[in-house]
């Protein structure tokens, strides 16, 4: 589904990702762990094609297509989606308006996608009024995530990157949102990459692969999430460099 090979990326004149390789297959759940400023969110922005992130070396393929130079909108149309940690407020544009536009652009059956959104809203701690409010403007932490989920649902993606899904959420709301993610995306074979600096959000989810990113590089890939998270909890991220347990 997604293949990243030997990727090196800079922003302005600073290298922020170095020689990074990552493979995500259809329907897999991946977790990318790492401390703040290790390059995790930069990787998400690079995968989505943000032009600020300049690829110096390496390639990205999605669904067997080289997307290294593809525009952001074309990547979205192919089925790549990002749930933002801090989505920007957009004045005068309602959540409903952007959902309508996404539906039109994706050419989905409007009645069906609208129904899915209504069902989603019913499962989440949000009022239908949220649909008519300006996008991301003065939203609570939970409302931000709900708005992102609704847009992702309308996008009908093949692979979703959740950037710090748990930020601004209490445990109860996080658990409700994870339930929706499982029902709406994971059960339908959508591949998911969770980016997080602490791993609790995927507890009970049995990720297929766990990666640790430190100082611009993925330094560890493991199929045993519990071992990785235990190592990090016990020794901290810096110990990952010399970890005896995880697979290299």
């Amino acid at each position: 589904m997604l293949q990243i090979k030997n990727l090196t990326v800079k922003v302005d004149s600073k290298i922020i990702i170095e020689d990074l390789t990552l493979f995500i297959k259809k329907g897999e759940i991946h977790v990318l762990l790492g401390p703040n400023a290790s390059g995790k969110s930069s990787l998400a922005q690079t995968i989505m094609g943000n032009p600020r992130y300049q690829i110096l070396q390496g390639k990205i393929w999605f669904k067997d297509q080289d997307i290294t130079r593809l525009s952001m909108e074309k990547r979205a149309q192919l089925g790549l989606a990002l749930s933002f940690q801090e989505p920007p407020p957009i004045k005068g544009v309602s959540l409903n308006q952007i959902l309508e536009l996404i539906r039109q652009k994706r050419g989905h059956k409007i009645k069906k996608t609208k129904q899915t959104e209504i069902e989603l809203l019913e499962q989440l701690p949000a009022s239908k009024k949220l649909l008519h409010r300006n996008l991301n403007e003065r939203y609570s932490g939970g409302e931000k995530k709900i708005a992102e989920l609704l847009q992702l649902s309308a996008l009908k993606p093949k692979l979703i990157i959740f950037d710090e899904l748990d930020s601004g959420l209490d445990i109860k709301n996080l658990s409700r949102i994870l339930k929706v993610i499982k029902a709406q995306f994971l059960s339908k074979g959508v591949s998911v990459l969770f980016i997080t600096h602490h791993g609790q959000i995927v507890d009970g989810m049995q990720p297929d692969w766990t990666h640790v990113m430190l100082n611009k590089k993925i330094i560890c890939n493991s199929q045993d999430y519990q071992k990785v998270i235990t190592t990090i909890k016990e020794h901290g991220y810096q110990k990952c460099r010399h970890c005896q347990f995880v697979d290299r």
Partner: protein, 303 residues
Amino acid sequence: MVTKSADTANLWIVDNQLRRAAETNGVKILGSPKAWTDLPWTRKYFKKQPKMGYFVWVKAQPSCPFFSCVNIKKEKTQQDLRNLVVIEKGLKVKIGGVCSALSLKLQGQHLAQGKIVIKQGSQVEYEHIHRWGQKDVVISDYKFYLEPDSQLNYTYKSKKSPQKIKLSNKFYLQERAKVKLNIIGDCQNTQFESLDEIYLQGKDSSGISNLRFISRANSQIKATSRMIAEAAGTGHLDCQSLNLDSTARVSLIPEVTVENDQAQITHEASIGRVSEEQLNYLRMRGLTEDEAIDLIASGFLKI
């Protein structure tokens, strides 16, 4: 807010011809020259005998909104309108007006001078839309008189700006009168000059002025928003522009004059460009760059 088809307009002027003046319940509608002749009391507002324009007299509570439509259809038409709207006491009135060119390159000239008198306790919602061709010239000069306890929400939208436009809107507020003014302009290849002045003449009168401009290629915008507090009133001026092109030039000037030490007036102004963060966010939702910019711009113009 109201229907905007000329077919259903209460009042319809094409070039320099009054095509329709359809009176409705509680509303008298005449051409300005006829009002001058038949209703001598209107002369104090017109000053001199008008040749073209309209007179609307809302005498009793109307059952539906009032809608006017002024068009330029022939090439190089010069309109010189003198308009008068009088709203009697204690009424709630919705007014919609469209002034437009019926094709893009008519090189018309639209000059409109008007007075709107809102009598004691009346509440008026007025939406005025301009849609002009690329070669038209527009000069619009309106004065609004708000008697005690009256309220006006006035929204002016320039949806397609002409080559040159000069707007002047002045508001005179007596005791406890309130005005909310929204001036919205989407400008491309245009020279747009706007002056609005709100005079707080009565105690506890209040005014809000919101200016929003989108400045596209080759637009020059100069907008002055002025609040003059002669009495103990309150007010706020908010001037904002979003620049979409490096050739655009924008000058926004909020100006406050306070002549009464009990008055409280505030102001703000900003001129900026589309945020990269917003643009990228929308593009990651599948919108093209142009679609994303249009969406951000349309949202910016909403007040």
